[in-house]
Symmetry: C2
Subunit: 216 residues, 2 copies
């Protein structure tokens, strides 16, 4: 059984970015394989036949699919460092709830900003401000969502925060007035090595958007 | 701080059913409040302002929303009995993956059978058979998805199995030839007190479908 860790990834994917960040946070060496999404590799189709999506972590020849599940799996297997999820049950619940909220609401509104015609894009921006205010209220005066330690919710959200920076350029989307604490949180995250080395550049994100529009 | 447990619920909901089953499995006493979905209660709107959906568990005055998260929360707080999730990380991952698969694929195809016109309903049935075959392959010769012990995946799936029984009546949907082991698993689950007492009747499910069609 191969002990090696493989990450099947697509560089601009916010979900792939989550996997990269958690692997970097835990100091795990891995083989990084990039997918050409219109021509998915046989390994991807074998490892994730149901959804056929990146990211997929392959560990001991077995697949782990879906980015939030990848984070929890890595946290449970490489458990020598500070856990990424809180230990208190209601705080654990809140972390899971917020990641689910990001997966659904933040993702869906972001797609409207990426893909929508003018009116839909404006609606997406309004929704995003609303979601970011909710997230900022949840963050409060803490350094990170879990307190003093960078964790599950931070890893799930920061790839979208990186999208927001790109939205500033082409959709006039600005959080600085509405959500100053969330912007400070975002900058704090961007200063971490595990994050800065894992994020795609604005150009990579924008190119992915163009590919997305072409319909893969 | 109130130690009491409240479940905000809607009797025919498969997601509410999951919460009822896990509460019964753990032997937890609770106050059961039923929602009139077109006129949601102030407590529901206060406890789940983002999604405004049932089920919501209220414990120590704090909300726990989303049925799969409720199951994990209850398992972590009332942790004296056999855990509902396996302890081995890849098995834990598989349980989470399958529940996510049920939430997305099984739910979406089931809605096609409920709501679709003839062609869409036929597509929904075909998809459901495909998903059930995948689930049956995952079940293998085990008693339950986690092995000998009724657990997370069983709780998540059995409310949909109850839907399949209703589909048999009005949509000529039959799993007995295609997935005999899954049918045996379903009957095994239905024989558990925690399940049989928590499931809505066929009539309740059908009435919910009619309400659903009216557009809440």
């Amino acid at each position: 059984m191969a002990e090696e860790v493989i990450l099947l990834d697509y560089w601009p994917s916010p979900f792939g970015t989550r996997a990269r960040i958690v692997l970097a946070e835990k100091g795990i060496s891995y083989i990084h394989k990039f997918e050409d999404l219109p021509n998915k590799s046989p390994l991807l189709l074998k490892m994730n036949p149901v959804h056929q999506k990146v990211p997929v972590l392959v560990h001991k020849d077995k697949p782990v699919c879906e980015s939030d599940t990848i984070i929890q799996y890595i946290d449970e297997v490489w458990n020598q460092s500070i856990p990424l999820l809180p230990s208190e049950p209601h705080q654990r619940y809140m972390a899971r709830f917020l990641v689910d909220f990001i997966n659904k609401k933040v993702y869906e509104s972001s797609i409207k900003v990426w893909m929508g015609a003018t009116e839909e894009q404006e609606n997406g921006k309004k929704e995003l401000v609303e979601w970011c205010k909710l997230l900022e209220a949840e963050l409060g005066n803490k350094l990170y969502f879990g307190g003093d330690v960078f964790g599950f919710v931070d890893i799930a959200l920061v790839p979208f925060y990186n999208w927001f920076i790109v939205f500033k350029k082409f959709a006039n989307f600005n959080l600085e007035t509405e959500c100053p604490k969330l912007v400070m949180w975002g900058n704090r995250c961007l200063n971490r090595d595990s994050v800065s080395k894992s994020l795609p550049t604005s150009e990579q994100v924008y190119q992915a958007y163009l590919e997305f529009k072409r319909g893969w």
